[in-house]
Protein backbone atom coordinates (compact mmCIF):
# COMPACT_ATOMS: atom_id res chain seq x y z
CA UNK A 1 0.00 0.00 0.00
CA UNK A 2 2.77 2.05 0.98
CA UNK A 3 5.04 2.47 -1.97
CA UNK A 4 2.94 5.56 -2.56
CA UNK A 5 5.71 7.20 -0.56
CA UNK A 6 8.05 7.17 -3.50
CA UNK A 7 5.53 8.56 -5.89
CA UNK A 8 4.99 11.64 -3.80
CA UNK A 9 8.69 12.23 -3.17
CA UNK A 10 9.47 14.11 -6.34
CA UNK A 11 6.77 16.58 -5.42
CA UNK A 12 8.62 17.45 -2.25
CA UNK A 13 12.19 18.48 -1.53
CA UNK A 14 15.20 16.30 -2.15
CA UNK A 15 13.64 14.19 -4.85
CA UNK A 16 16.78 13.67 -6.89
CA UNK A 17 20.07 12.00 -6.00
CA UNK A 18 22.94 14.28 -5.07
CA UNK A 19 26.12 14.35 -7.12
CA UNK A 20 28.90 12.19 -5.70
CA UNK A 21 31.62 14.33 -4.11
CA UNK A 22 34.90 12.82 -2.93
CA UNK A 23 36.99 9.89 -4.15
CA UNK A 24 36.35 8.23 -0.82
CA UNK A 25 32.63 8.54 -1.29
CA UNK A 26 32.96 7.27 -4.84
CA UNK A 27 34.66 4.11 -3.57
CA UNK A 28 31.94 3.64 -0.97
CA UNK A 29 29.30 4.19 -3.62
CA UNK A 30 30.87 1.60 -5.90
CA UNK A 31 31.11 -0.97 -3.12
CA UNK A 32 27.50 -0.25 -2.19
CA UNK A 33 26.32 -0.71 -5.79
CA UNK A 34 28.19 -4.01 -6.01
CA UNK A 35 26.54 -5.26 -2.85
CA UNK A 36 23.11 -4.28 -4.15
CA UNK A 37 23.81 -5.99 -7.49
CA UNK A 38 24.93 -9.12 -5.66
CA UNK A 39 21.60 -9.15 -3.83
CA UNK A 40 23.22 -8.53 -0.45
CA UNK A 41 21.30 -7.00 2.42
CA UNK A 42 22.31 -3.60 3.79
CA UNK A 43 22.38 -3.27 7.59
CA UNK A 44 21.85 -0.14 9.68
CA UNK A 45 25.51 0.66 10.32
CA UNK A 46 26.72 -0.05 6.78
CA UNK A 47 27.67 2.82 4.50
CA UNK A 48 24.80 3.90 2.27
CA UNK A 49 24.19 6.84 -0.08
CA UNK A 50 22.29 9.74 1.49
CA UNK A 51 19.52 9.44 -1.03
CA UNK A 52 19.06 5.72 -0.27
CA UNK A 53 18.79 6.57 3.43
CA UNK A 54 16.38 9.40 2.78
CA UNK A 55 14.19 7.34 0.48
CA UNK A 56 14.01 4.57 3.06
CA UNK A 57 13.22 6.87 5.98
CA UNK A 58 10.43 8.33 3.94
CA UNK A 59 9.02 5.04 2.75
CA UNK A 60 9.32 3.16 6.05
CA UNK A 61 7.92 6.03 8.10
CA UNK A 62 5.01 6.51 5.71
CA UNK A 63 4.38 2.81 5.98
CA UNK A 64 4.45 3.09 9.79
CA UNK A 65 2.15 6.12 9.74
CA UNK A 66 -0.26 4.17 7.53
CA UNK A 67 -0.44 1.34 10.05
CA UNK A 68 -1.11 3.79 12.89
CA UNK A 69 -3.68 5.94 11.07
CA UNK A 70 -5.14 2.72 9.64
CA UNK A 71 -6.36 1.85 13.15
CA UNK A 72 -8.79 4.78 13.10
CA UNK A 73 -11.29 3.68 10.42
CA UNK A 74 -11.54 0.21 11.97
CA UNK A 75 -11.46 1.40 15.57
CA UNK A 76 -14.67 3.17 14.64
CA UNK A 77 -16.49 -0.20 14.64
CA UNK A 78 -15.00 -2.05 17.61
CA UNK A 79 -17.73 -0.99 20.01
CA UNK A 80 -20.44 -1.74 17.43
CA UNK A 81 -19.29 -5.11 16.09
CA UNK A 82 -22.34 -7.37 15.65
CA UNK A 83 -21.08 -10.29 17.77
CA UNK A 84 -18.50 -10.94 20.46
CA UNK A 85 -16.56 -13.10 17.99
CA UNK A 86 -16.36 -10.32 15.40
CA UNK A 87 -15.41 -7.86 18.10
CA UNK A 88 -12.53 -10.04 19.31
CA UNK A 89 -11.33 -10.48 15.71
CA UNK A 90 -11.49 -6.76 15.01
CA UNK A 91 -9.66 -5.95 18.24
CA UNK A 92 -6.92 -8.42 17.35
CA UNK A 93 -6.61 -6.91 13.89
CA UNK A 94 -6.40 -3.35 15.16
CA UNK A 95 -3.85 -4.43 17.77
CA UNK A 96 -1.83 -6.00 14.96
CA UNK A 97 -1.85 -2.70 13.06
CA UNK A 98 -0.44 -0.98 16.15
CA UNK A 99 2.25 -3.64 16.39
CA UNK A 100 3.09 -3.29 12.71
CA UNK A 101 3.41 0.46 13.12
CA UNK A 102 5.85 -0.12 15.99
CA UNK A 103 8.00 -2.63 14.05
CA UNK A 104 8.22 -0.14 11.21
CA UNK A 105 9.00 2.91 13.35
CA UNK A 106 11.80 0.90 14.94
CA UNK A 107 13.14 0.02 11.47
CA UNK A 108 13.01 3.69 10.41
CA UNK A 109 14.83 4.73 13.59
CA UNK A 110 17.79 2.52 12.69
CA UNK A 111 18.44 5.04 9.91
CA UNK A 112 19.12 7.79 12.44
CA UNK A 113 15.77 9.54 12.74
CA UNK A 114 14.16 9.65 16.20
CA UNK A 115 10.64 8.48 16.97
CA UNK A 116 9.67 12.00 17.99
CA UNK A 117 10.88 13.39 14.66
CA UNK A 118 8.83 10.80 12.83
CA UNK A 119 5.73 11.65 14.87
CA UNK A 120 6.31 15.36 14.35
CA UNK A 121 6.36 14.84 10.61
CA UNK A 122 3.05 12.97 10.77
CA UNK A 123 1.34 15.36 13.16
CA UNK A 124 2.41 18.48 11.31
CA UNK A 125 1.09 17.04 8.06
CA UNK A 126 4.54 16.99 6.49
CA UNK A 127 4.60 13.20 6.20
CA UNK A 128 1.95 11.29 4.29
CA UNK A 129 0.21 8.02 4.96
CA UNK A 130 -1.67 5.76 2.57
CA UNK A 131 -4.52 7.54 0.78
CA UNK A 132 -6.92 4.68 1.53
CA UNK A 133 -7.36 5.65 5.18
CA UNK A 134 -8.91 8.96 4.25
CA UNK A 135 -12.15 7.24 3.27
CA UNK A 136 -14.94 6.82 5.84
CA UNK A 137 -16.20 3.53 7.33
CA UNK A 138 -19.94 4.05 7.17
CA UNK A 139 -21.37 0.57 7.75
CA UNK A 140 -20.32 -2.75 9.30
CA UNK A 141 -19.79 -4.31 5.84
CA UNK A 142 -16.94 -1.82 5.39
CA UNK A 143 -14.95 -3.85 7.96
CA UNK A 144 -15.11 -7.04 5.93
CA UNK A 145 -14.46 -5.12 2.72
CA UNK A 146 -11.38 -3.42 4.17
CA UNK A 147 -10.07 -6.84 5.20
CA UNK A 148 -10.74 -8.35 1.80
CA UNK A 149 -9.75 -5.52 -0.55
CA UNK A 150 -7.58 -3.08 1.42
CA UNK A 151 -5.59 -5.70 3.31
CA UNK A 152 -5.54 -7.82 0.17
CA UNK A 153 -3.96 -4.97 -1.78
CA UNK A 154 -1.59 -4.25 1.10
CA UNK A 155 -0.41 -7.86 1.24
CA UNK A 156 0.14 -7.89 -2.53
CA UNK A 157 2.30 -4.82 -2.10
CA UNK A 158 4.08 -5.94 1.04
CA UNK A 159 5.16 -9.45 0.13
CA UNK A 160 7.86 -8.21 -2.31
CA UNK A 161 9.10 -5.83 0.42
CA UNK A 162 10.21 -8.86 2.45
CA UNK A 163 13.11 -8.96 -0.04
CA UNK A 164 13.90 -5.25 0.30
CA UNK A 165 17.64 -4.55 0.26
CA UNK A 166 17.46 -2.76 3.62
CA UNK A 167 17.53 -5.62 6.10
CA UNK A 168 15.78 -4.05 9.12
CA UNK A 169 12.84 -3.14 6.87
CA UNK A 170 12.82 -6.58 5.23
CA UNK A 171 12.80 -8.28 8.66
CA UNK A 172 9.89 -6.14 9.82
CA UNK A 173 8.00 -6.98 6.63
CA UNK A 174 8.49 -10.72 7.10
CA UNK A 175 6.86 -10.48 10.51
CA UNK A 176 4.08 -8.23 9.22
CA UNK A 177 3.24 -10.45 6.25
CA UNK A 178 3.11 -13.51 8.47
CA UNK A 179 0.63 -11.82 10.79
CA UNK A 180 -1.41 -10.09 8.16
CA UNK A 181 -2.66 -13.07 6.21
CA UNK A 182 -5.45 -13.52 8.74
CA UNK A 183 -6.58 -9.95 8.10
CA UNK A 184 -7.65 -10.63 4.55
CA UNK A 185 -9.14 -14.02 5.34
CA UNK A 186 -11.27 -12.75 8.22
CA UNK A 187 -12.61 -9.97 5.99
CA UNK A 188 -13.57 -12.31 3.19
CA UNK A 189 -15.16 -14.73 5.63
CA UNK A 190 -17.15 -11.94 7.25
CA UNK A 191 -18.50 -10.84 3.86
CA UNK A 192 -19.16 -14.43 2.81
CA UNK A 193 -21.22 -14.98 5.96
CA UNK A 194 -23.37 -11.96 5.11
CA UNK A 195 -23.71 -12.96 1.45
CA UNK A 196 -24.73 -16.55 2.21
CA UNK A 197 -26.72 -16.17 5.44
CA UNK A 198 -27.69 -12.51 5.43
CA UNK A 199 -30.92 -10.74 4.54
CA UNK A 200 -31.36 -8.95 1.23
CA UNK A 201 -30.66 -5.66 3.01
CA UNK A 202 -27.40 -7.04 4.42
CA UNK A 203 -26.34 -8.32 0.99
CA UNK A 204 -27.08 -4.91 -0.47
CA UNK A 205 -24.86 -3.34 2.20
CA UNK A 206 -21.97 -5.64 1.25
CA UNK A 207 -22.38 -4.58 -2.38
CA UNK A 208 -22.51 -0.92 -1.32
CA UNK A 209 -19.25 -1.32 0.61
CA UNK A 210 -17.55 -3.03 -2.33
CA UNK A 211 -18.76 -0.24 -4.65
CA UNK A 212 -17.16 2.40 -2.42
CA UNK A 213 -13.87 0.61 -1.67
CA UNK A 214 -12.99 -0.92 -5.05
CA UNK A 215 -11.51 2.12 -6.76
CA UNK A 216 -9.66 3.51 -3.73
CA UNK A 217 -8.23 -0.01 -3.21
CA UNK A 218 -6.74 -0.28 -6.68
CA UNK A 219 -5.39 3.26 -6.32
CA UNK A 220 -3.38 2.02 -3.33
CA UNK A 221 -0.73 0.68 -5.72
CA UNK A 222 0.10 4.25 -6.69
CA UNK A 223 0.04 6.09 -10.02
CA UNK A 224 0.72 4.33 -13.34
CA UNK A 225 4.37 3.42 -13.96
CA UNK A 226 4.71 6.21 -16.50
CA UNK A 227 3.87 8.77 -13.79
CA UNK A 228 6.02 7.20 -11.10
CA UNK A 229 9.38 8.87 -11.69
CA UNK A 230 11.16 7.58 -8.56
CA UNK A 231 10.29 3.96 -9.15
CA UNK A 232 13.26 3.28 -11.38
CA UNK A 233 15.83 4.34 -8.78
CA UNK A 234 14.04 2.38 -6.09
CA UNK A 235 13.99 -0.70 -8.29
CA UNK A 236 17.70 -0.25 -8.92
CA UNK A 237 18.30 -0.15 -5.17
CA UNK A 238 16.15 -3.15 -4.44
CA UNK A 239 13.80 -1.08 -2.29
CA UNK A 240 10.98 -1.75 -4.68
CA UNK A 241 10.76 -5.05 -6.53
CA UNK A 242 7.62 -4.96 -8.67
CA UNK A 243 6.13 -1.94 -10.49
CA UNK A 244 2.86 -0.25 -9.49
CA UNK A 245 1.00 -1.40 -12.60
CA UNK A 246 2.22 -4.99 -12.36
CA UNK A 247 1.13 -5.24 -8.74
CA UNK A 248 -2.23 -3.66 -9.54
CA UNK A 249 -2.79 -6.14 -12.36
CA UNK A 250 -1.87 -9.03 -10.10
CA UNK A 251 -4.35 -7.81 -7.50
CA UNK A 252 -7.17 -7.35 -9.99
CA UNK A 253 -6.57 -10.77 -11.56
CA UNK A 254 -6.78 -12.41 -8.14
CA UNK A 255 -9.77 -10.40 -6.95
CA UNK A 256 -12.14 -10.95 -9.89
CA UNK A 257 -12.53 -14.63 -9.08
CA UNK A 258 -12.93 -13.89 -5.36
CA UNK A 259 -15.74 -11.43 -6.14
CA UNK A 260 -17.50 -14.11 -8.16
CA UNK A 261 -17.26 -16.56 -5.25
CA UNK A 262 -18.64 -13.92 -2.96
CA UNK A 263 -21.48 -13.03 -5.30
CA UNK A 264 -20.71 -9.32 -5.55
CA UNK A 265 -20.13 -7.15 -8.61
CA UNK A 266 -16.98 -5.08 -8.96
CA UNK A 267 -18.06 -1.55 -9.96
CA UNK A 268 -16.14 -1.39 -13.22
CA UNK A 269 -18.18 -1.94 -16.42
CA UNK A 270 -14.96 -2.17 -18.44
CA UNK A 271 -13.60 -5.11 -16.48
CA UNK A 272 -13.03 -7.75 -19.18
CA UNK A 273 -10.88 -10.84 -19.59
CA UNK A 274 -8.21 -10.23 -22.21
CA UNK A 275 -7.43 -13.54 -23.87
CA UNK A 276 -4.33 -12.21 -25.58
CA UNK A 277 -2.77 -10.70 -22.45
CA UNK A 278 -4.14 -13.43 -20.18
CA UNK A 279 -5.11 -10.69 -17.75
CA UNK A 280 -8.19 -8.72 -16.81
CA UNK A 281 -8.48 -5.31 -18.47
CA UNK A 282 -9.90 -2.59 -16.26
CA UNK A 283 -11.51 0.79 -16.80
CA UNK A 284 -9.85 4.18 -16.41
CA UNK A 285 -8.83 5.12 -12.86
CA UNK A 286 -9.70 8.60 -11.62
CA UNK A 287 -6.19 9.79 -10.79
CA UNK A 288 -7.45 13.25 -10.07
CA UNK A 289 -9.27 11.82 -7.05
CA UNK A 290 -6.09 10.02 -5.98
CA UNK A 291 -3.94 13.16 -6.06
CA UNK A 292 -6.66 15.13 -4.33
CA UNK A 293 -6.75 12.64 -1.44
CA UNK A 294 -2.94 12.42 -1.27
CA UNK A 295 -2.81 16.21 -1.28
CA UNK A 296 -4.93 16.41 1.87
CA UNK A 297 -8.38 16.90 0.44
CA UNK A 298 -9.99 13.47 0.79
CA UNK A 299 -13.23 12.79 2.66
CA UNK A 300 -11.53 12.23 6.05
CA UNK A 301 -8.01 13.69 5.92
CA UNK A 302 -8.66 16.38 8.52
CA UNK A 303 -10.61 14.07 10.80
CA UNK A 304 -7.92 11.37 10.75
CA UNK A 305 -5.07 13.77 11.45
CA UNK A 306 -6.89 15.60 14.22
CA UNK A 307 -7.85 12.29 15.90
CA UNK A 308 -4.22 11.22 15.75
CA UNK A 309 -2.89 14.53 17.09
CA UNK A 310 -5.48 14.54 19.88
CA UNK A 311 -4.48 11.02 20.96
CA UNK A 312 -0.83 12.09 21.04
CA UNK A 313 -1.49 15.27 23.00
CA UNK A 314 -3.92 13.63 25.43
CA UNK A 315 -1.29 11.01 26.16
CA UNK A 316 1.48 13.50 26.91
CA UNK A 317 0.95 13.45 30.67
CA UNK A 318 1.12 9.64 30.70
CA UNK A 319 4.45 9.65 28.87
CA UNK A 320 5.84 12.27 31.24
CA UNK A 321 4.54 10.49 34.34
CA UNK A 322 6.07 7.19 33.23
CA UNK A 323 9.46 8.85 32.77
CA UNK A 324 9.20 10.58 36.15
CA UNK A 325 8.27 7.29 37.76
CA UNK A 326 11.19 5.53 36.07
CA UNK A 327 13.60 8.26 37.26
CA UNK A 328 12.35 7.84 40.82
CA UNK A 329 12.90 4.07 40.70
CA UNK A 330 16.40 4.30 39.26
CA UNK A 331 18.42 4.81 42.51
CA UNK A 332 16.45 2.01 44.21
CA UNK A 333 17.22 -0.49 41.45
CA UNK A 334 20.90 0.47 41.55
CA UNK A 335 21.04 -0.02 45.30
CA UNK A 336 19.36 -3.40 45.13
Amino acid sequence: MYTQAMDTMSKEDGGSPKAVRSADELAHQQRFDERIDAGEFIEAKDWMPDHYRKTLVRQISQHAHSEIVGMLPEGNWISRAPTLKRKAILLAKVQDEAGHGLYLYAAAETLGTSRDQLFDALHSGKAKYSSIFNYPTLIWADMGTIGWLVDGAAIMNQVPLCRCSYAPYARAMVRICREESFHQRQGFESLLTMMTKGTDAQKAMVQDAVDRWWWPSIMMFGPPDADSPNSEQSMRWGIKRISNDDLRQKFIDATVEQARLLGVTLPDPDLKWNEERQHWDHGAIDWQEFWQVVGGDGPCNRERLSARVKAWEDGAWVREAALAHAAKGEPLRRAA
Binding site: L102, R115, D116, R319, E320
Partner: protein, 99 residues
Protein backbone atom coordinates in the same frame (compact mmCIF):
# COMPACT_ATOMS: atom_id res chain seq x y z
CA UNK B 1 20.89 5.23 18.84
CA UNK B 2 20.17 8.67 17.48
CA UNK B 3 21.63 11.89 18.74
CA UNK B 4 18.45 13.54 17.59
CA UNK B 5 16.36 11.90 20.31
CA UNK B 6 14.78 14.49 22.56
CA UNK B 7 14.94 14.32 26.34
CA UNK B 8 11.26 13.47 26.62
CA UNK B 9 11.56 10.39 24.43
CA UNK B 10 11.42 7.05 26.21
CA UNK B 11 14.69 5.15 25.88
CA UNK B 12 15.07 2.38 23.32
CA UNK B 13 15.27 -1.26 24.38
CA UNK B 14 16.28 -4.31 22.36
CA UNK B 15 14.00 -7.30 22.79
CA UNK B 16 15.08 -10.96 22.89
CA UNK B 17 12.53 -13.77 22.92
CA UNK B 18 12.91 -17.45 23.73
CA UNK B 19 10.38 -19.12 21.47
CA UNK B 20 10.21 -22.35 23.47
CA UNK B 21 11.96 -24.12 26.30
CA UNK B 22 15.33 -25.47 25.26
CA UNK B 23 16.03 -22.83 22.63
CA UNK B 24 18.10 -19.69 23.08
CA UNK B 25 16.80 -16.14 23.29
CA UNK B 26 16.82 -14.51 19.90
CA UNK B 27 16.82 -10.82 19.05
CA UNK B 28 13.46 -9.92 17.56
CA UNK B 29 13.27 -6.13 17.53
CA UNK B 30 13.23 -3.03 19.64
CA UNK B 31 10.79 -0.71 21.36
CA UNK B 32 10.63 2.43 23.48
CA UNK B 33 9.68 2.17 27.15
CA UNK B 34 10.08 4.33 30.24
CA UNK B 35 11.82 1.58 32.23
CA UNK B 36 12.79 -2.11 31.95
CA UNK B 37 9.63 -3.33 33.64
CA UNK B 38 7.47 -1.50 31.14
CA UNK B 39 9.70 -2.72 28.30
CA UNK B 40 9.01 -6.33 29.32
CA UNK B 41 5.27 -5.72 29.37
CA UNK B 42 5.28 -3.97 26.04
CA UNK B 43 7.52 -6.61 24.49
CA UNK B 44 4.86 -9.16 25.38
CA UNK B 45 2.18 -7.14 23.59
CA UNK B 46 4.29 -6.16 20.60
CA UNK B 47 6.30 -9.32 19.93
CA UNK B 48 4.39 -12.27 21.38
CA UNK B 49 0.76 -11.80 20.37
CA UNK B 50 0.63 -15.31 18.92
CA UNK B 51 2.46 -17.40 21.52
CA UNK B 52 5.83 -16.68 19.93
CA UNK B 53 7.59 -16.77 23.26
CA UNK B 54 7.98 -18.31 26.70
CA UNK B 55 10.52 -15.82 28.02
CA UNK B 56 11.58 -12.26 27.19
CA UNK B 57 14.80 -10.32 27.82
CA UNK B 58 15.10 -6.59 27.31
CA UNK B 59 18.25 -4.50 27.42
CA UNK B 60 18.73 -0.81 26.81
CA UNK B 61 20.08 -0.32 23.30
CA UNK B 62 22.72 2.14 24.50
CA UNK B 63 24.13 -0.61 26.75
CA UNK B 64 25.04 -2.83 23.81
CA UNK B 65 28.58 -2.80 22.48
CA UNK B 66 28.83 -4.05 18.91
CA UNK B 67 31.66 -4.85 16.53
CA UNK B 68 32.30 -2.20 13.92
CA UNK B 69 30.96 -3.20 10.48
CA UNK B 70 34.02 -1.41 9.01
CA UNK B 71 36.23 -4.00 10.72
CA UNK B 72 34.27 -6.91 9.33
CA UNK B 73 37.01 -8.13 7.01
CA UNK B 74 39.82 -7.79 9.57
CA UNK B 75 37.78 -9.51 12.27
CA UNK B 76 36.12 -12.37 10.51
CA UNK B 77 37.90 -13.15 7.25
CA UNK B 78 41.05 -14.69 8.83
CA UNK B 79 38.87 -17.69 9.67
CA UNK B 80 38.28 -18.31 5.98
CA UNK B 81 41.56 -20.16 5.38
CA UNK B 82 41.32 -22.35 8.48
CA UNK B 83 39.36 -25.09 6.82
CA UNK B 84 41.02 -27.69 9.06
CA UNK B 85 38.68 -26.46 11.80
CA UNK B 86 35.83 -28.23 10.03
CA UNK B 87 35.23 -32.01 10.09
CA UNK B 88 34.79 -32.12 6.31
CA UNK B 89 38.49 -31.22 5.89
CA UNK B 90 39.52 -34.74 6.86
CA UNK B 91 39.20 -37.52 4.32
CA UNK B 92 38.64 -40.85 5.95
CA UNK B 93 37.96 -44.33 4.56
CA UNK B 94 34.35 -44.80 3.48
CA UNK B 95 33.85 -47.40 6.19
CA UNK B 96 34.46 -44.65 8.74
CA UNK B 97 32.20 -42.21 7.00
CA UNK B 98 30.06 -41.56 10.03
CA UNK B 99 32.85 -40.70 12.42
Amino acid sequence: MSGAASKAEWPLFEVFVRSKAGLDHKHCGSLHAADPQMAIQMARDVYTRRQEGTSVWVVRSDQITASDPGDKAAYFDPMEDKVYRHPTFYELPASLDHM
